[in-house]
Symmetry: C2
Subunit: 257 residues, 2 copies
């Protein structure tokens, strides 16, 4: 019998979210699963790590007695670090998966995403990794249609391996009457969040703000994650943690510095 792959699972919506329960369900068919997930929602945490405070790690039986699971007081990136350097001292996960996020992480949202910080942290640690997101923010969103796509992508990653340092950002359209057309390899669309600060006054007469935003797609390309999702495809963007703008190096070497 072939050895089953060891799969680490985390997320940013917290260990009690419906999305991670769905991911555990799919991954258990494929390999041996270990879960290390935040004990509270951590959306919008970007690639934060916990430096100034201690971190707690407690066993959890939320996925049943036969799934080794831990809830962690830290950020999504902390969960990966704790798994690699504390729990897995003598073993190396074959794959790290994150999600399924309640809400899209396409285009620039990858930068703010706790879900993708799990995948990118894993890539930094040299581990193949995938972040999965469903384009539906509802806490009771229907994840049933995502299983077949997740299975397909995971099996391809295990079979083909990922290029060194690459993490996948997978976004899956919301469940609808229209059937998903397939899976597209895409690039991150150029976009940003226009913000509106909702200004209010508290009972103590002090002002405060709520951050609210609307996504602006600045990219007309038909090879982007935004285009794929809009046209009812699953989008797969390979992501790097080398932020260097290599194309800018030669021009800047002409500066008078």
């Amino acid at each position: 019998m072939e050895k089953r792959p060891l799969i680490l699972i985390s997320n940013d919506d917290g260990i009690t979210a419906k999305g991670i329960a769905n991911l555990v369900e799919v991954m258990r068919e494929i390999g041996e699963v270990v879960v290390v997930a935040p004990n509270k929602p951590q959306s919008g945490m970007g690639h934060a790590i916990t430096i100034g405070q201690p971190i707690r790690l407690d066993k959890s039986t939320i996925f049943g007695e036969d799934v080794l699971a831990f809830e962690c007081s830290g950020t999504p990136a902390d969960c990966v670090k704790l798994a690699k350097y504390h729990l897995f001292k003598d073993r190396t996960p074959d794959l790290v998966v994150s999600g399924i996020n309640h809400g899209s992480n396409s285009s620039i949202s990858v930068i703010y995403s706790g879900t993708m910080s799990v995948a990118i942290e894993a890539a930094i640690e040299g581990l193949p990794s995938i972040g999965f997101s469903l384009c539906d923010y509802g806490s009771q969103a229907d994840f049933s249609h995502t299983h077949e796509y997740i299975r397909k992508i995971v099996l391809q990653v295990l079979a083909n391996k990922l290029p060194k340092g690459v993490a996948l950002n997978v976004n899956i359209p919301k469940k609808s009457d229209e059937k998903i057309k397939g899976i597209k390899i895409t690039r991150q669309a150029l976009g940003h969040w226009g913000e509106e600060f909702d200004e209010r006054t508290d009972p103590h007469h002090r002002k405060y703000f709520w951050l609210t935003g609307y996504f602006v797609n600045q990219d007309k390309g038909e090879d982007t994650d935004e285009w794929a999702l809009k046209n009812n495809y699953v989008s797969v963007v390979p992501c790097l943690y080398d932020l260097t703008a290599h194309f800018a190096l030669s021009g800047m070497n002409e500066w008078e510095l």
Copy 2:
């Protein structure tokens, strides 16, 4: 008389840090300065934004009566968003600068850095931006030697403009007896933080962990930020927020998806 550039300043060590006071001092010589900085340290916050909580913004006179300054309860990225969408509704900053960070943000630290999240958020918003860091973690670090390099880099950015979507990650060697050799345009060194979790038991007999790490430079190149800093040069890395691993797209299009 030429119009003085409008310069937004933020950081991640908080508005009371010595580093931002030094940055304000240098920038006031160059342009009109507005400060929006966190009201508490936010190191390691990566590109976090505040979604689940309200944000406070209060005027501050910490830099004297003639510098418009605000302290913000949110993250470094929140500060940029508040400045752009709330404070600067009818004006656009000519430059956004962040820091001076107490500690290096070279190599992979760019990903965890609140200092660089200011610069990258500004780039996303289409604003030229630079994050400055001093390779000295001390709260009372000597910043005096950084001024001339900051001035030089800022003036070159204002004169040459930055390519669209590019933010600069500038790291400056710690003050020492050896004179800094100059400024190098570099790329992000391949590296990661090996972590050691310091496991302790609290007075209530519960375990907790402190995250402690050591940087591992995996990159032998002599064109990297790590090489430059080790050889006593100021390092300037142009950074992008498009995480797409463009080189991986064609190979992945052969997958069976």
